[in-house]
Amino acid sequence: MYSYDQFDEAFVRARVTEFRGQVARRLDGSLTEDEFKPLRLMNGLYLQLHAYMLRVAIPYGTLNSAQMRQLAFIAERWDKGYGHFTTRQNIQFNWPKLRDVPDILDALADVSMHAIQTSGNCIRNVTADHFAGAAWDEVEDPRPTAELIRQWSTDHPEFAYLPRKFKVAVTGSEADRAVIFAHDIGLRLVRDGQGAPGYRVIVGGGLGRTPMVGKVLRTFLPKADLLDYLEAVLQVYNLSGRRDNKYKARIKILVHETGIDALRAQVEAAFARNIRVLPAMDRAHIKRIEAAFAPPRWADKPLGAAPQDAGYRSWCDTNLAMHKRPDHSIVTVSTKAIGQTPGDVSAAQMRVLADVAETYGYDELRISHEQNVILPHVHNADLPTLYHALKAAGLATANIGLVSDIIACPGLDYCALATARSIPVAQQISTAFADLDAQHDIGPLKIKISGCINACGHHHVGHIGILGLDKAGVESYQLTLGGDGTETMVIGDRTGPGFAYDEIVPAVERLIAAYLDLREEASESFLDTYRRLGLEPFKTALYGKADRKAA
């Protein structure tokens, strides 16, 4: 994986020093609170409900064991002994003190990490397929592109004060694990008719209060033109995106109001100019980035007999994914033990994850947007020992892709924007379906929970989406069904009136009972059944026949 050179190191240290100075100038009155706010946000520091929250970048979700151990150290030294992995492949610390933040940033810099551009109206931390470099179906590893975009977008002088935040995601596979249709820009590595490498460019996707599926801005962009093209998109957005209403300021609204064809024409004009006036990309530098992502030296060792232990086998069934090498597997470690907070990992667990990554995983870890931790390369011979090491740390829950593998935003327990709790709802659903055998019987099911309309929990693309709102001071949960965050992205359909806090879990149970009843065979997933039958039978399960008119 990419490791900092002298330039990166000096840059990050300079940013820490700069932020120390900004805090000092805020305290001596040189900067007003309004002036300070964007500067603090650009360094990842939010003011939350109870305290400051520091959001640390994990670029494209990739980290090594030393970095994971440092996160554990930070959690214990300056926070409450845990961290929260988010749907943006980041980690958040919920309880830092403002005066400690420069020291935390220094501790991050010690392991080539930072909190730059994890917030604010700028180009955010770039995300990518969490199986990058390991997936069997990959045309090309998306990480060199993601790293290139990280460098290009970091402290970009033209694009630090955009109308609104701007998120870029990259995937190298057709099977979209990076949700590229729900990003401001989504990139998929493809080949043209002659086999030349390039990108399909998607623009204007997003969730939030106005969910939109991204549109194709360019079917093929030659690889070497990437930065010139991104500069063009960003320049058009920076100049033309709405600034009168922050809810209409994302590029998806510009796409919607301008029309994709007119916007494409503007982008192409700026792109043509960029190609003429901007110096070409430094090929040697690009090559250095690519070389940093060369595959590890693959271990070659004999397989032992597969253990017959039922727990191990069920973990293999759900938590392993196919690796590009048949003698290796991709291991997903669930952060969602039954009844726990999705994404929360204790310092002790972080150290276990660091240890197993170092011993069995070529020193590599990933954070997925589904808030789990991935060991992208594990030799099949090491799987049983790995399983037992994880199990001892409470990290072997065999529920990946199942009903209790829930995405949930922090919600009203932490977030200043939230209108309802989401973590306790996730915990209760998880507890209601605690029996893993029953979960396996239900099969693949993505439940996603957001505690407000901003949709950090991606509820629009959950097979079952739950949106917590505030109705006259009372929590009310709206359900959406049939959402899909993959290459066949669909925004879920609203079922009808919302449910109270104590009604939402029983409502989800009714939905699942209805599905089990309606499916044609055990292999028909919830989403397939929904697609076959539509909303009606599920509405009946939720609201009953008699209430249908009132609903």
């Binding site: 009155g29 040189s30 002036e35 290009w152 402290d155 002088p157 630090a160 110096p279």
Partner: protein, 141 residues
Amino acid sequence: MTQIITKTGFVEETYQGQHFPFSALWDGQDLPESPFAIVLSPDSDPFDLVPWFERVDLVIIPFATSADGRGFSLARRLRHLGYRGCIRAHGHILVDQFRAALAVGIDEVEISADQARRMPQAQWQAVALDAPRYQSRLRAA
């Protein structure tokens, strides 16, 4: 009163030419033979200024608030279109944005006297203008 700031620090106003709004180029107003200044509005398209590049020696870009970053793109687009005169950012620009402003082709910044009192010359002079940038590293020299 306002304060003009360049790479060297706080400087006096030395510009002698007349100022015209961007619209003056289109509404038939008599324009002087000698070079003059144009004041853009945030939604001006710099492309429309291209025919006037020879006669304009100062373009003033307004920054209504430091959070409105359109001026950075206006300046950079002007440079990409070949404008070689002076570009002045006028309004609410922070010390923390000075390096970015110069990087996109802005030559000088004009802020209110009140802001200049809160952000004195020493703070502007302390900005490391030659700090290396990722963007220049990614492009061949």
